[in-house]
Symmetry: C2
Subunit: 333 residues, 2 copies
DNA sequence: CGCCTTCGGTTACTCGTGTAAGTAACTCGT
DNA sequence: ACGAGTTACTTACACGAGTAACCGAAGGCG
């Protein structure tokens, strides 16, 4: 296998084989309208490119054009729940329609500025941050200076220089906690998941629940929990002495896990403890007891793709509707 | 907001501000050992880079160096189950240690060659395909010609030019079907999920189950199913007239969904129908009845990262152990 | 004083593309 | 027959970064 010998094939190779100049190759392959090429040479060029297996160099193209067609979505895969995974796939498809290449990247960075620098190196056309904290005003400035045209983020309040889709995780916590309080619960637990990348969502949800407690007679206790049977079982086994009568379980997956270990430990739901999840996953309605949950209405992938395209092309886009948490009441709370 | 005016800051800007040549900037920022720079100017350069918020242009660097530090993982997010999502995050971290930037990308391509071309445009240092079909010999050649150094894939048999980790989804189907047959089941159903990107896994699993049927008295019926309550309920409601006594449910998530709708429809598990999942997720053991499943032992993220690094640097790497399916027996089958 | 090193820097070329500007050949209208 | 216009292509440069080769000044040594 002549790996090193077989250097990457460039448009110059295609030009040589087709017996034309490199410029002509470029005109043909990009279908440039301002220049005409005879059908004969056009065919020769296409044939040459095909036999050589020519693929343009995105880096070189980005260098020349000053931007590329990447859309970077910084997010840890495990932080992408079932709720958004389908949505992200749809977004891929929508963006492809505009000619963009969507890409997911989950680095483990010490601070937001370092993360922004790493993203900026790729010179993406757009950056779409799904959590509220990873793209702040400072990071936005770094990316802008690096020539990134479109910055979009889900965030609790408008960020300077970023097209913000308003979404406050605190309101999720408020929504869940208010429901629990309305159902007569006073000693609330809030699950804090251990998985990577989730604290950015979990912390504000906890804060939201606390704000509800502050204006009522309720109390809030954070409950550290890994997404493992052992960790959940540990929580359930010592449940009696905690004396909690309501739990907001971060999301439906954690909630389902809790329902299982509560059942095994003989803790009655919703009798002894009411449970609220989040995301309204397919399985939520199928749990026994059926899971009360918070549904999040996210703008459609098509809307987001269109907005990103506008941002890249014109620098501005119509504001997108805010994400509203809606309580879906079922049997568990 | 002076978006267009504020052109991207380059190393030339840094050089100007620091009062040195661009070469010196490059030597300082890359800490080049072969050239010495006085402490004074080194400090000036670093300060200038910092105040300007300079970030190198990955494309330009890739152009010059002939390769970049990207590791491309082509996979749809929704096809990445809970099983591998944590693994992929770990892989991100491990690769970062070597200085690589891992990136996930899920395009919807008409054929594998088109997909390979799209990936090749980015000129990644490595491509890691997690499903057996997306990276064939033809795609490998395209990528090789584009200068991609490391190609790695999970595949049922060695692929020309690709560092293959042997993993045959058919064996998953065999493993599940053999267990069902051993438990006395003869009329088997195999769930074929509707989600994007899953057919690459589901088809061979079905084939594996069929091969078991072929050498026994059992029959196999494919069951089209979406990951929705409605689709699952439809399957459960017409269950009696199908006359099936065993199901391999593709994975644990589909299996859990099935268990729920079977329970609601009054279909007894495992009495009337035995159910086998796959992946051995956290929730599998917690289902009622506890879910029998197939566990897949994947090489560690650290092992894979090391192998990719070796491939990029030296062109060869030690073979990784094959992925073995292991049946985990519980109550549902 | 002449010659060799070392230090600290610069100049100049390269990577692969896209495109503005230029050019050679051919057609056409009067 | 000759400028004008059209067609079909080429030449030349820019994008941002890395680095081999070069270069002047200072220091060391006989």
């Amino acid at each position: 296998m002549a790996r090193n010998a077989a250097a990457a094939v460039t448009s110059a190779d295609v030009a040589r084989l087709a017996g034309v100049s490199r410029a002509t190759v470029s005109f043909v392959l990009n279908d440039t309208q301002t220049h005409r090429v005879s059908e004969a040479t056009r065919a020769r060029v296409l044939a040459a490119a095909d036999t050589l297996g020519y693929v343009p160099h995105a880096g070189a193209r980005a260098l020349r054009a000053g931007r590329n067609n990447l859309v970077l979505i910084p997010a840890a895969v495990s932080a992408v729940g079932r709720l958004v995974s389908g949505w992200i796939d749809d977004l891929h498809t929508e963006l492809e329609r505009y000619g963009y290449t969507a890409v997911l990247h989950a680095g483990r960075y010490t601070d937001p500025a370092a993360a922004a620098r790493a993203w900026a190196e790729l010179r993406p056309g757009a950056v779409l941050a799904l959590d509220g904290t990873s793209l702040g005003a400072a990071g936005a400035q770094v990316l802008r200076r690096a020539g990134v045209r479109a910055l979009m983020a889900l965030a609790p309040q408008p960020v300077e220089g970023v097209h913000t889709v308003l979404f406050d995780d605190r309101r999720v916590g408020v929504c869940a906690a208010e429901h629990l309080v309305a159902r007569g619960r006073r000693r609330l637990g809030v699950v804090m998941p251990g998985e990577r990348g989730l604290s950015a969502f979990a912390e504000p949800r906890l804060a939201g629940a606390r704000s509800v407690a502050a204006r009522t007679t309720a109390t809030v206790t954070p409950l550290e929990m890994e997404y493992t049977h052992a960790s959940a079982a540990r929580l359930a086994s010592g449940w009696a002495q905690r004396g909690l009568d309501g739990v907001f379980a971060y999301n439906d997956e954690y909630a389902s896990l809790l329902l299982c270990v509560f059942r095994d430990a003989g803790v009655d739901v919703p009798g002894e403890v009411a449970v609220v999840g989040c995301d309204d996953l397919v399985t939520a309605a199928l749990q026994r007891p059926a899971l009360t949950t918070v549904r999040l209405a996210v703008p459609s992938a098509a809307q987001v793709a269109a907005a990103l395209h506008d941002l890249i092309e014109t620098g501005t886009a119509a504001p997108l509707p805010a994400v509203e948490p809606v309580l879906v009441r079922r049997a568990s709370a």
